[in-house]
């Protein structure tokens, strides 16, 4: 983004005030792209992103959604997401592509709007009926009271029929399967309250519970809506961060084919920068491959004819032709995914606090109401009185506070973590995260950036200038690191040529110059990640690299230790690389050179000793471990499969939020338990009153609203 583009920026607000006819034509333009913007947080960010994108030729319309931290773009078909991500990166905004086809499917969005409209209708009806009820409570009698009851009925019955449908449907489904869920007592209470009140109204009775039926519906819908919102935001953002797996491959003959159609023995061409879709053997060409996603090894490895390559590895330097030895569902990538689905099933057995509460709660409520009815029948023999008291018991015990207790807290907690760049994907993730006492980190790509950074060598010497020139001839990660790391002018090197698998060579002032692997340049192989430069017959010079730790890594580890967790690092990389990083970020326990199975075995061993493990990782070699752990976190840059099995996705590149995730999860669980306590306390006071027949509609309304507000306020303390 250059300064010269600013006039067009200034023109942008002007086009927003263009005549309505033009605007409505623009409004027709459907958004075609969506980007995730983990870093935005204020009005200046909104303006900055919108103006930056609007200035790109071909972009018709831009709208930032700060709540979801996304931007929707309507653009000409030739505009790609990568281009816009690049423009935003230059303007200083971190962005990531979202799979538009999945995000724009509005089914889930419609469901939450539908819930909101039910909630609104219930709210307005509740206010009106409450208004009429206050008149009754303050002493309206005879004909006036009956009239008010009839008007209340006219408002309440259609509202209940419309607004309470989600509860009826869910309760009906549960009963159909011979189960009891939370919605059965809820539906029963709403229906009985409405039906009983109608009967009382018809016979000129004193008590009608229309307001109770409506406020029950309203408060419980509020809980349901919060729940839906949180899940929706998490699911849509996490599942659709664009996939890294390659859906198409290039056959050796040059035609493009779907990966699913490839068979054993087929030959495909793998260009530099492409990820391999199959397991196979290299038949032609030599190159270097990046195995970090599979093994965690941060150094590229040389590969030549006859050597094996597996799915998920990235080709770096030269074009390769690969013959498939296994394809489709049998690649190592898929086998890993199968391993994951087994572990996933094991974890879904975790029962959330809300479900545990509901399991105890539903039978107790029904038994209590039945007991009240039977007791009063025996004592008085009056069916109408006994039924009235049984309904009062059901209404009083109805889980308003219980229905709000969990969603209000998890909404507040996920909202707080979302603002820190952590996306909570799984409903029970916070509860499991709160129990964690041991944290396992992966190294490459998780604790580190996963790409090399030049260390030292910032001086402007002959060597650095020649190296900078040669580095321009390759897209190898080390060459890229040299280009960004060397802040010097490039020397005039001619005949630059990349030798796949070895390095780059050229001519400078008549002498041959080479940049690349130690054995190719003619130097002794040293430790660590390095590349060598030789000018003519001079002594070769080494450029050393390190894998820089991610921002916030040390802070996250310190915070986790503070929270009483033990921290460990498991990596597939070499011992030397792991040890130096462990020292840098403050990890005392680590193991190097592990295979994916070793990581899983280590996690099982920890689980066997009763430890609750949080796994933080990104690569394919971590996927099984992520699924095996008690709770898991992966960065947004992780492989699709890893993000899918993780409970929490880090949207930004900063790791610092992990420590806070654990403490927030712990206080969230504490709040949920407190809320259960509040709900229980209120029942202990109110239920005996209802059983004794002292409950009036006024008492029910006060108790219900009181406990719901208490629970919500308690949850708000988390924000």
């Amino acid at each position: 983004m250059s300064l010269a583009e600013h006039p067009s920026l200034a023109a942008c607000p002007a086009c927003a005030v263009a005549p309505t006819a033009e605007r409505s034509a623009q409004e027709m333009a459907a958004p075609s792209l969506q980007l995730s913007l983990p870093g935005i947080h204020c009005a200046a960010c909104i303006s900055g992103v919108e103006q930056t994108l609007a200035a790109v030729p071909g972009v018709r319309d831009v709208r930032v959604n700060l709540t979801q931290k996304r931007v929707q773009v309507a653009a000409a078909p030739q505009i790609g997401a990568e281009q816009l991500v690049g423009v935003l990166a230059r303007a200083g905004y971190e962005a990531r592509e979202l799979d538009a086809s999945a995000v724009l499917a509005t089914g889930a969005d419609k469901a939450s709007r539908e819930l909101l409209s039910r909630l609104g209708v219930a709210g307005f009806a509740m206010m009106n009926v409450m208004l009429l009820s206050v008149a009754v409570w303050s002493g309206a009698t005879e004909a006036t009271r009956d009239l008010f009851h009839w008007i209340s009925a006219a408002i309440a019955l259609p509202t209940v029929a419309f607004s309470a449908q989600p509860f009826f449907k869910s309760a009906w489904g549960a009963l159909g399967g011979w189960r009891l869920n939370m919605d059965v007592p809820i539906s029963l209470a709403i229906l009985l309250a409405a039906g009983m009140s109608l009967y009382e109204t018809a016979y000129g009775g004193e008590h009608a519970y229309f307001d109770a039926a409506l406020s029950l519906t309203f408060f419980l819908l509020a809980g349901r809506y919060l729940d839906q919102r949180t899940r929706l935001a998490a699911r849509s953002a996490a599942a659709e961060l664009s996939a890294l797996e390659v859906p198409r491959a290039l056959r050796a003959s040059g035609e493009s084919a779907a990966v699913a159609d490839l068979k054993i023995g087929d030959e495909i061409r793998l260009l530099p920068g492409a990820r391999c879709p199959i397991d196979g053997i290299v038949t032609t060409g030599a190159s270097e491959i990046d195995r970090s996603l599979i093994t965690g090894e941060s150094l590229p490895e040389a590969i030549a004819e006859g050597q094996a390559i597996s799915a998920g590895e990235t080709n770096l330097t030269g074009p390769l032709v690969v013959r498939a030895t296994s394809a489709g569902t049998d690649t190592s990538l898929r086998r890993m995914a199968d391993l994951v689905s087994v572990a996933e099933n094991a974890r879904s057995r975790h029962v959330s606090l809300a479900d545990r509460a509901a399991r105890i709660y539903a039978p107790v409520v029904h038994l209590l109401a039945l007991f009240a009815f039977a007791g009063w029948m025996i004592a008085t023999g009056d069916v109408r009185l006994s039924l009235n008291i049984a309904v009062a018991v059901l209404i009083i015990t109805c889980p308003c506070a219980l229905g709000l207790a969990v969603p209000a807290v998890s909404t507040a907690a996920s909202g707080r973590l979302f603002r820190r760049g952590l996306l909570v994907k799984n409903a029970t993730a916070l509860e499991r995260l709160a129990e964690v006492d041991h944290v396992v980190f992966d190294k490459t790509g998780t604790l580190t950036e996963g790409r090399p950074v030049l260390s030292g060598h910032d001086a402007d010497t002959v060597q650095t200038r020649v190296a900078a020139a040669l580095a321009q001839g390759s897209s190898h990660p080390l060459a890229e690191a040299l280009r960004t790391g060397l802040d010097v002018g490039a020397a005039a090197v001619s005949d630059i040529r990349e030798v796949p698998g070895h390095g780059i060579e050229g001519r400078w002032k008549g002498q041959p110059v080479r940049l690349g692997r130690a054995d190719w340049v003619g130097a002794a192989r040293g430790g660590g990640t390095s590349t060598w430069l030789r000018i003519g017959d001079d002594e070769p010079v080494a450029f050393r690299f390190r894998d820089a730790p991610r921002k916030g890594a040390a802070r996250a580890i310190a915070a986790l230790k503070q929270a009483g967790c033990t921290v460990e690092m498991l990596s597939g990389d070499t011992e030397e690389a792991v040890a130096s990083l462990a020292d840098l970020v403050g990890i005392d326990t680590w193991s190097a050179g592990l295979r994916p199975e070793d990581k899983v075995a280590r996690l099982r061993e920890l689980a066997g000793r009763g430890r609750r493990v949080l796994m933080v990782g990104d690569g394919l070699n971590d996927t099984a471990a992520l699924a095996e752990a008690h709770a898991s976190i992966s960065p947004a840059s992780a492989l699709d499969a890893s993000r899918t099995v993780s409970d929490i996705v880090l949207l930004g590149s900063d790791l610092g939020g992990i420590g806070e995730a654990v403490t927030t999860a712990r206080s969230a669980t504490r709040r949920i338990l407190e809320n259960f306590g509040i709900a229980a306390l209120y029942n202990i006071v109110a239920v005996p009153l209802a059983l004794a027949g002292f409950a009036t509609p006024l008492a029910a309304a006060l108790a219900m609203s009181g406990s719901s507000i208490m629970v919500t306020l308690n949850a708000m303390r988390l924000r």
Binding site: C12, P13, A16, V17, R23, Q26, E27, A29, P31, C42, A43, I46, S47, D61, V62, R63, V64, N65, L66, T67, Q68, Q72, A74, R113, L116, S117, G120, V121, F124, M127, N128, L131, T144, I151, I155
Partner: protein, 52 residues
């Protein structure tokens, strides 16, 4: 108490009006981005409704 003949329909009408206003605000997608909207009012450039 005759005044109730007017007051009850008036109060119900007002309630209904509020409900209609709510349905309108829902239909025009005003609950999609509450955080963004609260920041947008502070901006100087003209931006009174969602473009998309």
């Amino acid at each position: 108490m005759d005044v109730l003949v007017f007051l009850i329909p008036v109060s119900l009408g007002l309630g209904l009006l509020g409900l209609l206003a709510f349905v309108w605000s829902l239909k025009t997608r005003q609950y999609d981005d509450p955080d963004g909207d609260s920041h947008r009012v502070l901006r100087s450039d003209f931006d009174d409704r969602p473009k998309l």
